[in-house]
Symmetry: C2
Subunit: 225 residues, 2 copies
């Protein structure tokens, strides 16, 4: 089974890749869609290079597709990107969004390909417990009451996970961030040939809407031997 | 004719793309090989994102392939990347390097694809005259006696080109940089939907080997309408 993995660099797409490799699938490409509207046509250096750095650490070619960012257009743009790849299936990290999953499934089906979503409807806490054991996950974006500035740049390990469980009870912050409460970045995983080291980061906190991002200004790869 | 264009972001690969589009070819992917050894496994933020920014401005998916950087391995790694694409041909910006052209031709032929090198053996001065008229070209790397620090970041226009012609007479600096005398970056071309603007650059000059690079620390896209 030759597949492409939809890859954004966060925990879910890395899990999708991890699962695909474990199945013995031949992962030909990582596919990442970049939206123009993300930064209202501005395109700043920090962070955008990071999926590329991950792909390099993993050693699988990265396909970057571009989209105007209108929700419906995005699916068609992704379809055009997938259409030119010699693959039999597509693996996505979809966790809980019906909307997102239906859209991907439709496009993949139209292309005559198989669609896989290994994390689909998994129990969030159990899922996260598995992830923190195998990945080095960092929180690079937050947008939820309960997640203050101190969460930016924090490694998600067992201890942090317990805090998230408590925040879930208190503020309904989903433990796996299914509701867009936070964004993650994976710096290391069993299939990474080199790990990513952040050299220079900056927290950008927006008090008005209680959200923030970790801007990674410099990073490098470090051999794992 | 569905093609992939080998794309590094400089004048020659942009010319290859320009030519392919003018032929009416369907350019499905830009393919860029990234070498690990380029920076001895270090991977700094500046510049590496720039081909991605160009691909975004152009609106054609970018495939980033990774290679250990050993010369012979690089060809095989590129082959693996091209192998999974549904294309009929490959367009390269090769200008004068027999070695480079033979390697690309062999791989492309083994894949049963057509190989195109529209700039192959063109007269350098005539070629450059055409390029400076249609592209916004900046010099981002220099490595030749005669090209001092002031050349870094300079736009290559008709006037600069005449200076290069004079340097060629004096120091044998090839006018189109065929001998690796300089590296270029294209900020705008007729097929760019948005132009690239450099916001923050830094000249890194190495007096010992009389060479330098222009590090682009921040850049953004600007609409062209």
């Amino acid at each position: 089974m030759r597949v492409a993995v939809l890859y954004s660099g966060g925990k879910d797409s890395n899990y999708a890749l991890y699962w695909a490799l474990k199945q013995g699938f031949e992962v030909k490409y990582l596919v990442s869609m970049v939206s123009e509207s993300d930064e209202s046509y501005m395109y700043h250096v920090p962070n955008i290079h990071l999926t590329e750095l991950q792909a390099k650490a993993i050693g699988i070619p990265l396909v970057k597709g571009f989209t105007s960012g209108e929700k419906e257009k995005e699916v068609e743009d992704m379809k055009a990107v997938l259409e030119g790849l010699k693959i039999d299936g597509v693996v996505a990290g979809a966790l809980a969004s019906e909307y997102q999953k239906r859209r991907v499934d439709r496009v993949v089906e139209e292309l005559g390909l198989k669609s896989f979503a290994p994390a689909w409807h998994r129990d969030p806490v159990e899922y996260m417990r598995e992830l923190v054991e195998i990945f080095d996950i960092v929180m690079v974006g937050t947008a939820a009451y309960g997640l203050d500035e101190s969460w930016l740049g924090r490694k998600i390990d067992e201890k942090t996970l317990e805090e998230l469980v408590k925040l879930n009870e208190k503020y309904r912050v989903h433990v796996a961030g299914e509701g867009g409460e936070f964004e993650t970045f994976v710096r290391d995983a069993p299939f990474f040939k080199a790990r990513i080291v952040f050299d220079e980061v900056e927290k950008k906190w927006n008090e008005c809407n209680y959200s923030g991002i970790l801007e990674v200004r410099r990073a490098h790869l470090e051999r794992k031997d």
